[in-house]
């Protein structure tokens, strides 16, 4: 089982991103391959990225509505108290800057039995998930 990191969604929306082609393939696979899941924390971080860059509320609403058609609802993993607790534990290992969402995404994967994360961020390995791309 694999989980999707936010970097994939960010590359997916930008055709000039060097990761675009593979990111597009991974998002496409969400509706066909049964072993790829999207942590709720990935979606939350993605929304904050849009907000941070001035994408207005109306556009964000439309964007998420359209992602709802690309990502089957049963492929989205919830942010539960167990996930948040595990993320807090992982924070003791994640001493790099901006690790908050990394810990929540990895914790989601670990709590749901994932063995890898689709990401270019190799720091995920330090938290217990193989990083693949």
């Amino acid at each position: 089982m694999r989980i999707l990191d936010t970097v994939i969604l960010l590359a997916f929306i930008d055709k000039t991103d060097p990761l675009y082609a593979k990111a597009n393939s991974y998002v496409l696979e969400l509706s066909s391959e049964k072993d790829i899941f999207v942590p709720s924390a990935t979606l939350l971080e993605f929304d904050l990225e849009l907000k941070a860059h001035g994408v207005d509320d109306s556009a964000r609403s439309s964007i998420h509505s359209k992602f709802g058609r690309l990502i089957p609802a049963d492929r989205i993993l919830p942010l539960t108290p167990d996930v948040l607790g595990r993320a807090a534990q992982l924070s003791q290992k994640a001493k790099w800057r901006n690790a908050y969402f990394d810990t929540m995404i990895v914790a989601t994967g670990l709590e749901h039995g994932a063995d890898s994360a689709i990401t270019t961020d190799h720091k995920f390995r330090r938290l217990g998930l193989e990083a693949i791309f």
Binding site: I13, L48, V55, K66, A73
Partner: protein, 45 residues
């Protein structure tokens, strides 16, 4: 409680169309994106 389900598999053409619509909505706002932008917004004082 009703949970929305979008389980029908999209055709490649449908996927490409929705993806294109998303990219149009985002426009060029994500240029110069840097890792950690979300957290800087979240934790800014």
């Amino acid at each position: 409680m009703e949970i929305k389900q979008h389980s029908r598999k999209l055709t490649k053409e449908e996927f490409d169309e929705i993806a294109s619509e998303i990219r149009t909505l985002v426009g060029d706002k994500m240029k110069n994106h840097e890792e950690g932008d979300a957290e800087r917004l979240l934790f800014k004082r």
